[in-house]
C-alpha cells in the first residue's frame, strides 16, 4: 500500500467499519498509536457471552485487574495501562469487526491475549494485522500454525501448541496405558489437525475416535459420544476440546455410569468451570489432565499467592480459577513486554522486545518460553496432573515432571528448566 511508504503524512483517516463514523487524529511527531504520555491502550477480543464463553469470559477482567494493580503502583514507566475488551461471541466474522473497532476507533497500541484459532486466523487475514504492524501478543490459542513467524511476524503465542500437548499425551499413554483400549474425542478442526498428526507420528492408535464440530457440543451430542465410547469398550478416554464440550461429555458419562480413565486436554479441564457447568465433582476425582500452570489453589506457589491477592482486591468476588490465572499471567507478561520495549514505545519496538527479551520473561507456567528473532512461540511444555476429590489439581506422581517438545518432529524430553521467580510484589522492573 502506498500509505505504508508515507508515514510522514500529517493527517490520518480511519473509520469505524460498522457505523461508518470517521475519526481524524493529528498525531504529534514520533507518537505511536495508542500511546500517550499518560496511557497505553491495549485491546482484546474474546467471547464474553454465548455457549463458548464460560471461563473464557473471565480472562479479560483478570487482565484488567492485574493492570489496575500495576497502574496503582506507578504504571509502566509512568503510563497507565488500559485494556479494552470486545465481545466477539466466538464468531470469527464478529472478531474481525471488533478488532477493526479496537484498531481504528479505539486506536489501541497492541492486541493482547486475543482468543480463538478461527477468530485470530480471520482477524489476521481480514484486518491485516501484519500489514498494519500491530503487535498481537500472547494469543490464547494453541494452534501450531501461528508459530509460523514468516506468516505471523507481529504475533506471539503463549500456550504450548496442541501438537506439543498431543505429543506429550502420546508419550504418557504409551508409558502408562499400554494394552488398554483407547478412546479419543476431539474438536474436528485445527485442534484435531494438530493432535491427530502428533498421535499418528507417535504411533498411538485409538480404538474409538470421535470428532465433533465446534459449536455442536451439547448434552444430546455428548450422548452419542458416550454411547460410541462405551460400545467400543474404551477404557482410557482422551479429550481434546473446549470446556463447553468437556462438561456435557463428563456429565452424560456420569449419568450413564460410564467411568473410563479420563485424560483431559489443558484447554477444557478447568475444574471450577466444569463444576459450574454441572459436572459432578466425583467424576473429576482421579481424572488426569495435561497442565502447564500450577493449580490455581496452590498457595505454596509464589505466583499463585500474588495473583490471588491481586484478584481479591481488584477482581473482587470472582473465583480464582485457571482462566483468571491465565488472564493475570498474560497481564504480567504484557507489562514485562511493554517495559522491555522501553520508554519510547513503538509497535516495532515492542515486537523487537518480544524477540530479543521475551524468552526471559517471568511467567507462572513451568515450561520455557521460546521467543527469539526466529520464533514467535511461547511456552513449550506440560506436566501431567491428577484431579482430587475436591476437583483440585495435583502433579501426577506427587511432583511436577515437566516435558518439553516442539510442534514438529522433535523429541519429547523431561525438562530441568527452572521457572524464573515472580518479580517482587508481582511488579516487573525489567527493561
Amino acid at each position: 500500500m502506498i500509505g505504508k511508504t508515507r508515514r510522514k503524512r500529517t493527517w490520518f483517516v480511519a473509520a469505524v467499519l460498522a457505523s461508518g463514523s470517521l475519526f481524524a487524529t493529528a498525531l504529534p511527531a514520533n507518537a505511536e498509536t495508542g500511546v500517550s504520555a499518560s496511557e497505553i491502550k491495549l485491546g482484546i477480543t474474546l467471547p464474553l457471552t454465548g455457549a463458548a464463553s464460560p471461563g473464557y469470559n473471565k480472562i479479560g477482567d483478570a487482565m484488567n485487574a492485574y493492570f489496575k494493580y500495576v497502574n496503582d503502583n506507578g504504571g509502566v514507566y509512568g503510563r497507565k495501562v488500559t485494556l479494552i475488551q470486545k465481545n466477539d461471541e466466538y464468531s470469527p466474522q464478529l472478531s474481525i469487526a471488533k478488532t477493526n473497532e479496537l484498531i481504528l476507533k479505539d486506536k489501541v497500541f497492541a492486541l493482547v491475549g486475543p482468543l480463538g484459532t478461527a477468530n485470530f486466523t480471520a482477524v489476521h487475514k481480514s484486518v491485516g494485522i501484519a500489514r498494519r504492524g500491530v503487535p498481537s501478543l500472547f494469543l490464547n490459542t494453541g494452534f501450531s500454525g501461528f508459530g509460523n513467524k514468516k506468516d505471523f511476524p507481529t504475533s506471539f503465542t503463549i500456550l504450548p501448541s496442541y501438537a506439543m500437548e498431543a505429543k506429550i499425551a502420546a508419550l504418557f499413554l504409551k508409558e502408562n496405558f499400554a494394552g488398554k483400549k483407547l478412546g479419543l474425542v476431539y474438536q474436528n478442526d485445527e485442534f484435531g489437525i494438530d493432535a491427530l498428526s502428533a498421535f499418528r507420528n507417535a504411533g498411538v492408535k485409538f480404538d474409538v475416535s470421535i470428532p465433533y464440530t465446534s459449536g455442536t457440543q451439547s448434552a444430546a451430542t455428548a450422548q452419542t459420544w458416550v454411547s460410541q465410547l462405551a460400545a467400543g469398550g474404551a477404557q482410557v478416554v482422551l479429550f481434546f476440546g473446549v470446556t463447553s464440550a468437556t462438561a456435557p461429555l463428563l456429565a452424560v458419562a456420569a449419568g450413564a455410569k460410564y467411568a473410563p480413565q479420563w485424560i483431559l486436554g489443558s484447554v477444557g479441564s478447568d475444574p471450577l468451570t466444569l463444576r459450574a457447568l454441572g459436572v459432578p465433582v466425583a467424576v473429576l476425582n482421579g481424572a488426569l489432565t495435561l497442565a502447564g500452570n500450577p493449580s490455581p489453589n496452590d498457595l505454596n506457589d509464589e505466583y499463585i499467592k500474588v495473583f490471588q491477592d491481586i484478584n481479591k482486591k481488584y477482581n473482587t468476588g470472582v473465583a480464582f480459577d485457571d482462566y483468571v490465572l491465565q488472564g493475570m499471567n498474560v497481564g504480567l507478561m504484557t507489562v514485562q513486554a511493554l517495559r522491555a520495549a522501553g520508554q519510547n514505545l513503538t509497535r516495532r519496538g515492542l515486537v523487537r522486545a518480544m524477540e530479543n527479551k521475551g524468552s526471559t520473561f517471568a511467567s507462572v507456567a513451568y515450561s520455557p518460553l521460546a521467543y527469539s528473532k526466529t520464533s514467535n512461540i511461547g511456552h513449550t511444555g506440560y506436566y501431567m496432573a491428577v484431579m482430587d476429590a475436591t476437583g483440585d489439581r495435583k502433579p501426577y506422581g506427587g511432583s511436577v515432571v515437566l516435558y518439553t517438545t516442539d510442534s514438529g518432529n522433535g523429541p519429547v524430553v523431561k525438562s530441568t528448566f527452572k521457572r524464573p521467580a515472580i518479580p517482587a510484589k508481582g511488579l516487573p522492573t525489567n527493561s
Binding site: V13, A18, L22, S91, Q93, S214
Partner: protein, 540 residues
C-alpha cells in the same frame, strides 16, 4: 434445531441490479454526431447515436457550469432470457442509454448545473473495448453540442467501472477525474471466479450442468439457458432444504455425489463453493454471525458458526450464478471457445486459511476432507488455449493513472468482489512506487502525487433480522456493503462531489474535508491499510 421458513423466497437480484434504468427513450432514426435535442423547464435533453449505432443520452441544464459526468452502465446480458427461468425471470436485450446511476442522482446533478451523458453501447455483454471507443466519441459529440464544456469526469459501475478505469488509464487528456464503482477488473480472474462457482455447483449438486464449453449458435444459447434453469433449480432445492432443516439440509435430488458424502450437510458443500470461488460470506441479509434469540443458548453458537454462514453463501451464490452463466456464454462466444480451465486447480489449497475460519460451517475437518475429495476426483474443465489467449486481449487494467481516481465498492459485493478493486489499487501502488523510485534516482526529492483514493463500504457488524418465531427475514433491504453495487443516493452524490472537486483542483479531496464528506454520506470508509482479499485467481 428448529425449522425455518423464509418470509419469502430469496431475492435474486444479480441481473436486475446490473440492468440499466430506462431514463430516456431512444430515437428510432438517430444519426451519428447529430443529436436530437429538446428543451423543457430549462433542461435540454439530447439523444442520438454514435457511429457504431450506440444510442446515447445527454441532459444539460440551462445554467450548465461546464462540467459533465460521463456514465458507463454495468453488464447487461447480450442474449434474452426466457421469462420462465425459475428464480430469475425474463430479460430482453436492451441498449437503452443511461447517463447516470439513477434518476434521482441525475436530477440532483442537473439541478446543480452539471451535465450528464451516457451511452447504451452498441453491443451488450462484455463490451469494454467497443464501449471505450463509443465513450471517447461520445465525449467529442457532447463537447461539440455543448461548447461551454470545460471539464469531463467519468464514472461507472460494475463493467462500467471497468470501462471507467480504462478510460482514465488510456485518455488522461480527455478526462479530469474518474470514479470506477463496484468495478470489474481483469477479465481472466473474473471468469475464473464464475467458472469455479459454476463448476462447484455442477460437481456437488447437478452434474448435468454444463457450466461452460457451450456450443456455437442457437445450440449454445439453448445450453446456457438450460444451465440457468438447472442452476436455479439446484439453488431453489437448497433453499427449501435449508429452510426445512438448517442443521442437516438434504442434498438436491439432482446431486450425484456418493452417499457417504451426503452424510455431510449440503449447506457445507455450498459454503465450500463460495469459499473456493472467492464469494464473500456476508450477504444481503445474512451477516455470518447472528442467531435467533429464540434458540436455546446452546444452539445459538452453532447457528452463528455453521448455519448463518450457509445462508449467506446461499444468497450470494444465487446472486452470482446468473451472471456466471450468462457471462461465460458471452465470453466464450467472443473468445471462440471454452475459457475456464481448472485442470491444475488445487481447491483444498484454495481454502487453506478459510478452512479454519469457517470450520464449523464446513462441518469440520471431516467435512472439509470429504468435500475436497469430491472436488479432487471430479472431472475438470479444460479450456481452449486459443480462446484463453483471446480472452486476455479483451482488456485488463494497468493501474497506471495520472488523473485523480476514486474507487468505491462494497466489501461484500458477491458479483464484482472487492478483490477487483483491490487489484487495481495494488497495481497503482506498484506504479506509484516505480515513479517514486525513478524520481529519487533522478535526484527529485518530492514524492509523486497519489492520485488514487480508495474507499470501501463495510457491512454492519450484525444485521440479520429474525421474526419472533426465529425465521430469518429476507424482505428487508440489503445491508449496506452487501449485494452488487448497492449504493445509496448520498453515496453517489458524495462521489460526484469528490469528482467535481478533483476536476477543479487536479487532486483528490483529502484531510478534514474528505472526512466530513464521507461521514455525511455514511458508510464510506477510507482506511489506507485495509486490503480486501485477493481474487482466488491470484492465489488466496
Amino acid at each position: 434445531m428448529r425449522n425455518f421458513k423464509f418470509k419469502r423466497s430469496l431475492t435474486l437480484v444479480a441481473v436486475s441490479s446490473l440492468l440499466s434504468l430506462t431514463v430516456v427513450s431512444i430515437p428510432t432514426a438517430a444519426r451519428a454526431a447529430d443529436p436530437a435535442c429538446t428543451t423543457a423547464n430549462f433542461v435540454t435533453t439530447c439523444v442520438g447515436a454514435t457511429s457504431d449505432t450506440a444510442p446515447y443520452s445527454m441532459i444539460v441544464p440551462a445554467n450548465f457550469n461546464g462540467t459533465v459526468y460521463l456514465y458507463s452502465h454495468g453488464y447487461r446480458p447480450n442474449v434474452p432470457v426466457p421469462a420462465g427461468i425459475p428464480g430469475y425471470g425474463g430479460y430482453t436485450v436492451t441498449n437503452t442509454p443511461q447517463p447516470g446511476p439513477n434518476a434521482t442522482v441525475i436530477g440532483a446533478l442537473v439541478a446543480k448545473g452539471y451535465g450528464v451523458v451516457g451511452s447504451g453501447f452498441a453491443r451488450q455483454g462484455w463490451n469494454a473495448d467497443s464501449a471505450i471507443k463509443t465513450n471517447v466519441e461520445l465525449v467529442g459529440i457532447f463537447k461539440k453540442q455543448f461548447t461551454k464544456t470545460t471539464k469531463v469526469v467519468t464514472w461507472g459501475e460494475s463493467l462500467g467501472g471497468f470501462i471507467t478505469q480504462a478510460l482514465a488509464e488510456q485518455y488522461p487528456n480527455l478526462f479530469k477525474a474518474a470514479a470506477p464503482l463496484c468495478m470489474a477488473s481483469d477479465i481472466t480472474p473474473l471468469m475464473t471466479m464464475a467458472g469455479d462457482a459454476l463448476w462447484g455447483i455442477k460437481t456437488f449438486f447437478d452434474p448435468t450442468i454444463k457450466g461452460g464449453s457451450y456450443s456455437a449458435g442457437a445450440a449454445g444459447y439453448a445450453e446456457a439457458m438450460g444451465d440457468l434453469v438447472k442452476v436455479f433449480t439446484a439453488i431453489g432445492s437448497l433453499q427449501a432444504a435449508f429452510a426445512a432443516n438448517p442443521t442437516a439440509p438434504a442434498w438436491p435430488a439432482t446431486s450425484k455425489v456418493p452417499d457417504a458424502i451426503k452424510a455431510i450437510p449440503s449447506r457445507s458443500a455450498l459454503v465450500m463453493v463460495a469459499l473456493m470461488s472467492g464469494i464473500p460470506m456476508q450477504s444481503a441479509h445474512f451477516d455470518s454471525t447472528s442467531a435467533p434469540s429464540v434458540l436455546p443458548a446452546a444452539s445459538q453458537t452453532s447457528f452463528q458458526l455453521a448455519i448463518n454462514p450457509a445462508f449467506a453463501a446461499l444468497e450470494n451464490v444465487a446472486n452470482a450464478a446468473a451472471l456466471a452463466v450468462l457471462a461465460t456464454h458471452d465470453l466464450e462466444l467472443q473468445a471462440g471457445g471454452a475459457v475456464f480451465d481448472n485442470t491444475t486447480t488445487d481447491y483444498a489449497a484454495r481454502i487453506k486459511e478459510e478452512q479454519f475460519i469457517w470450520s464449523s460451517a464446513l462441518s469440520g475437518n471431516s467435512g472439509i476432507a470429504g468435500l475436497s475429495s469430491v472436488l479432487a476426483a471430479s472431472p475438470r474443465a479444460t479450456a481452449n488455449p486459443a480462446a484463453v489467449a483471446k480472452l486476455k486481449t479483451l482488456a485488463s487494467h494497468s493501474g497506471k493513472v495520472e488523473i485523480p481516481t476514486i474507487l468505491f465498492t462494497g466489501v461484500a459485493d458477491p458479483v464484482t468482489v472487492a478483490g477487483n478493486q483491490q487489484s487495481v489499487a495494488d497495481k497503482y501502488a506498484t506504479y506509484w512506487a516505480e515513479k517514486w523510485a525513478a524520481a529519487k534516482k533522478a535526484g527529485v526529492s518530492k514524492r509523486p502525487a497519489n492520485n488514487q483514493l480508495v474507499l470501501w463500504n463495510f457491512p454492519p457488524q450484525k444485521y440479520t433480522k429474525f421474526s419472533a418465531a426465529g425465521a430469518p427475514d429476507t424482505t428487508l433491504p440489503a445491508a449496506t456493503g452487501t449485494n452488487h453495487c448497492n449504493f445509496t443516493t448520498s453515496q453517489y452524490l458524495a462521489i460526484a462531489d469528490m469528482l467535481a472537486y478533483a476536476a477543479d483542483n487536479g487532486v483528490n479531496l483529502s484531510g478534514g474535508a474528505l472526512l466530513t464528506k464521507l461521514r455525511k454520506a455514511g458508510n464510506m470508509t477510507y482506511d489506507r491499510d485495509y486490503a480486501a482479499p485477493k481474487m482466488k485467481f491470484y492465489g488466496n
